[in-house]
């Protein structure tokens, strides 16, 4: 049975003043997943999120959330959102901000509100403009988590936080998802945190998704094949599909594959290397090989 998708984009394009921020982005976020959306700064992560929440209009292509067109306000009723800047109303106090937000969401969770107020030690009467970056992030997270949302969209939720604070925020997020039926779609350029909490991942580069899938599948599919020769490595071309990147360095030839490892190894063996070694790769290596490096 096909898994149900809570977010679906097809050939999504978005241009700002002639600059293409998204160039045919196609994504499918399974319901119930923790979906890490990885990319370098300026890759198009925030633009994608803005399109999904109706803050920016797609230039072409399709984007649907809950099966609804992205300009439908119903999406925002069922979605919790934390922006990269954690921009809240500076002129309100923490308590005023919570009292302001709650009535917009019929499924507001007063029990979670109390729990997170205590857990995050938020100062109820302090003005938001006087909050530290970390406390502001915690408040933004509280406001998103208490909406009773089916979907959380978080844009760089830990940006600007020290490692301890970032860990606290991630743990709170994981604990929340474990207890609620919530899908999380979060953007990041921190590979470690995506590796830590995501079960699905998309890597976006220059407005295109270059890698998508379940993290376990990716780890299984992506492998590094290292060939060592007794002379300089040959200029090799491979017919087998799945070669992502080839690197030659002296007597060593390294191949990053995204599948079909056996066929690649078979082809490589025909070059009579001294040794062939297949090693698993980390998400960081997949990321670096798919969005950077030229050869």
């Amino acid at each position: 049975m096909a898994e149900s998708l809570i977010i679906e984009t097809t050939d999504l394009h978005k241009s700002y003043d002639g600059v293409e921020a998204l160039r045919g982005l196609t994504l499918g976020v399974p319901t119930g997943s923790i979906y890490g959306f990885l990319g370098r700064n300026g890759a198009g992560k925030t633009t994608t999120i803005k399109v999904l929440l109706g803050m920016a209009r797609p230039s072409s292509g399709q984007a649907r959330v809950f099966g609804l067109d992205v300009d439908n306000p119903e999406i925002r009723r069922r979605t919790g959102f934390v922006s990269e800047e954690k921009d809240l109303y500076d002129f309100m106090t923490v308590d005023e901000m919570i009292r302001f937000t709650a009535p917009f969401f019929p499924r507001w969770r007063a029990d979670l509100e109390q729990r997170y107020l205590r857990k995050f030690e938020l100062p109820s009467n302090r003005k938001i403009k006087a909050l530290s970056r970390g406390t502001r992030t915690k408040l933004a997270l509280l406001l998103a988590l208490c909406r009773g949302a089916e979907l959380l969209i978080l844009d760089e939720p830990t940006s600007g936080l020290d490692p301890a604070m970032a860990e606290e925020v991630l743990q709170a997020l994981v604990a929340h998802v474990a207890g609620e039926e919530t899908t999380v779609f979060f953007s990041s350029h921190q590979i470690a945190e995506v590796d830590q909490i995501a079960d699905h991942v998309a890597i976006i580069d220059r407005g295109c998704a270059v890698v998508t899938g379940a993290l376990d599948d990716l780890r299984e599919r992506y492998q590094r094949i290292q060939l060592v020769f007794d002379v300089d490595a040959p200029q090799a071309g491979f017919r087998a599909p799945g070669v992502v990147r080839l690197r030659r360095k002296g007597r060593m030839l390294t191949i990053m594959s995204s599948g079909g490892t056996e066929e690649i190894v078979e082809e490589a063996s025909a070059m009579h290397p001294l040794s062939v070694e297949v090693v698993p790769v980390t998400l960081k290596e997949i990321f670096l090989e798919t969005v950077t490096g030229e050869e």
């Binding site: 929440l53 109706g54 803050m55 925002r76 959102f81 922006s83 309100m92 917009f104 933004a140």
Partner: protein, 252 residues
């Protein structure tokens, strides 16, 4: 809750305006006995436009109704009220410097039209209070100096000011949907208001927004400037419509 947010966003501008205008209205009333004493000293031989204006103001001040119109409804109130109309009209969804939260607001399950509509309605209510409350203090406190000023006149003069002056509020609101800061809309709208005011002060110009705001035809002939009020209202609605269209189609 959007009303509450709009109130929090604009309350200091509104309250400062209200205190200033109330103080100014009371000052108009309670300085009248002093003005009467000074009238005989007004020089009669100054030539040119300035001389004409001084003589006209002195002539109007010979009775309390003329003095109130000249000092309050023609001068103090339009100047200060227009300043606060622009200040209150500036800001809103795009103005990060007015307290941030643009993306948070847009993540709420509310249409952009409603967001702008509530902000506009809050501004109109505040400007209505700024136009009427200080003006109504004049008939209330006039007996304290042995004078009388009609409540009906105060209401009609304030209505002229409110309807015609709303153009400047709407202009500031439109400009606020075009720029991401509060300073450019503020300065441009104030610049336009000052330019219009200067043009209308020329003796050969007898029509304009400030002429309608002053309610001169009502003061002099008891006739409301219907055409001017209608034109101002239409212009104000058109500017608000432009703001609505702008905000609805904008990318954030």
């Amino acid at each position: 809750m959007l009303w509450y947010k709009s109130w929090l966003e604009t309350r200091w501008r509104f309250l400062i305006g209200l205190v200033l205008l109330i103080f100014s209205a009371l000052s108009t009333v309670f300085t009248y006995p002093q003005v009467l004493k000074l009238l005989p000293m007004v020089p009669q031989h100054i030539n040119g436009e300035i001389g004409r204006r001084i003589r006209e103001a002195a002539e109007l001040a010979r009775d309390f109704r003329g003095y109130v119109w000249s000092d309050w409804f023609r001068q103090n109130l339009p100047e200060k009220w227009t300043l606060f109309a622009v200040l209150i009209g500036t800001g809103g969804l795009l103005a990060h410097s007015s307290g941030g939260g643009t993306l948070f607001t847009l993540s709420l399950p509310v249409s952009r039209k409603r967001l702008l509509g509530v902000r506009t309605a809050t501004g109109f209510i505040e400007l209505f209070v700024l136009a009427f409350v200080p003006s109504l203090l004049i008939p209330l406190f006039s007996p304290a100096i042995g004078q009388h000023y009609g409540v009906g006149s105060a209401v009609i003069q304030s209505a002229c000011l409110f309807i015609a002056g709303s153009v400047f509020f709407s202009l500031a609101a439109l400009l606020s949907t075009m720029f991401n800061d509060i300073w450019r809309p503020l300065l441009i709208a104030l610049g336009v208001a000052i330019a219009v005011s200067l043009v209308e002060q020329a003796p050969q110009v007898s029509y304009g927004i400030f002429h309608v705001m002053h309610g001169e035809s009502y003061f002099r002939h008891g006739a409301l400037p219907w055409l001017g009020l209608l034109a101002s209202a239409v212009l104000s609605v058109a500017l608000q419509y432009g703001a609505m269209v702008n905000i609805a189609r904008r990318d954030f």
